[in-house]
Symmetry: D2
Subunit: 152 residues, 4 copies
């Protein structure tokens, strides 16, 4: 079955983070993995756009109870209705996470991911013990794909 890779990061970002997220999304799709994210703007939108333009599949786990809130590059919108709590669903579902930029929401997601034993690869994000810092989108996606794990 296809890997599911999570992308986490802020909903308002600068151009560098947006471009990085777009590139990450494209690489996830080219590696036949499914992208899961929070389904809104910023890093989430950029990653979904990149994945869609590379022919991939995108899942957006939305905070509210209305699927119309998803950004236009989400194929599968899921209306969790849990507010920030929806982040746990992303982490439970993904086999690994890529964190891009972000503030406190991203910090809490990193904490949950590491608590759940899911690896987190970082691109310009929190420098936390446990996060595997990467120099490029290519390095982050390669490290996940090369982990050689398939979900069963």
């Amino acid at each position: 079955m296809n890997k599911i890779i999570g992308v986490i990061g802020g909903s308002s970002v600068d151009q560098t983070a947006y471009d990085t997220a777009y590139e990450v999304g494209g690489l996830i799709a080219k590696n036949d993995a499914i992208l899961i994210c929070g389904g809104l703007g910023g890093v989430m939108e950029a990653a979904c756009k990149g994945a869609k333009e590379a022919g991939g599949t995108t899942i957006g786990i939305l905070p509210g109870s209305y699927i119309g809130d998803a950004n236009p590059y989400v194929d599968i919108p899921i209306a969790a209705g849990l507010g920030h709590g929806r982040n746990l669903i992303i982490i439970n579902t993904a086999e690994a996470l890529i964190a891009i930029s972000g503030r406190f929401g991203t910090l809490s997601e990193i904490g949950f991911a590491l608590q759940s034993g899911k690896p987190v690869f970082g691109l310009g994000t929190w420098d936390i013990d446990g996060v595997i810092a990467c120099a490029s989108a290519q390095e982050a996606v390669d490290k996940i794909i090369r982990r050689g794990e398939s979900r069963i």
Copy 2:
């Protein structure tokens, strides 16, 4: 965008309910809608199997935190980690629900759906004021498709 139709019902069912759910899943797929359900056995598995064999897409919102719990006909497993609370995500995400057979879990889902203003079409399930009883899988799916609604 494709409609998302929810199928709710028990995880242990008799052959009649299984066959009905299988037929419902197939009809959802043939109408280019996406099936969302709880991702486990019984009615959920039968509906997913029917949808997959008709070329459709299936989403399973799982109660636990491990995507490996999904039945083999789920394309997109979502590990909600909320126990029974995962039912609300199905209801928030679907534009309409088809309830097949089922006991108290299905009753609670019907209650949530009606509380949320989502129409519920029933096939051999609880005879509750608000549930639109249908005589066949064909009638239930036709009524949803003909509602002429598209999610925006």
Copy 3:
């Protein structure tokens, strides 16, 4: 430890239901049990008011993320931030439920309670197989207290 008894019912109710809920709250307090409910208006407010005026303790599990939403008779407001999903917390926490009047939200709570194996005593509510219909507040509270269970 004190029993925790849940009261479920609609947020907008007629005078009869309000009076019944008020009486139920008072009887819960007089039996040294703690009242848990959804913390808002209608049945929830009436039951909390009855319990407080009889010297009891009240817990309100609120749908939103702000404790200021609680009715003035809630001692312990809990901001679940889960919308309708907060109902499951009431059911998980209570050892038995009293359902008073109510529409679809109450129906979903009854379904969850019965699915979770918690007894439901009904006062003018849904006539569902599994709900133990009672003729008065006194009968409902007595039946719970006399169950002789203590939580451990």
Copy 4:
């Protein structure tokens, strides 16, 4: 109404962290505030024990669906049934948080608290921008009490 103060931290801790949490719990109670925490062992148990022995009230928001999991110093056990997601309820309900020691779970709670705009006072915990580091239990509790806020 009484302030509600949250205590977050690991379930397995060394003696120093246990003693600090015990002292924090006692000071919360002596200041007529209510303690809310995750209801299990380690920092949570120490804080509840300190609060109870000082005559206070303690709330435990449990991850599972069984109130019997609470430590013996919890007055009001709430069975959230949300796993790690229960942490958000603590943060939504408390007006301020004291973080003691802890690993990734505590990190995620700190992230959620700061994202939600709730102040976090730290005692030997993560050195994150946004956390107000304190030298003693007394300093942490004083700073919260002196904030002069009352919940409305």
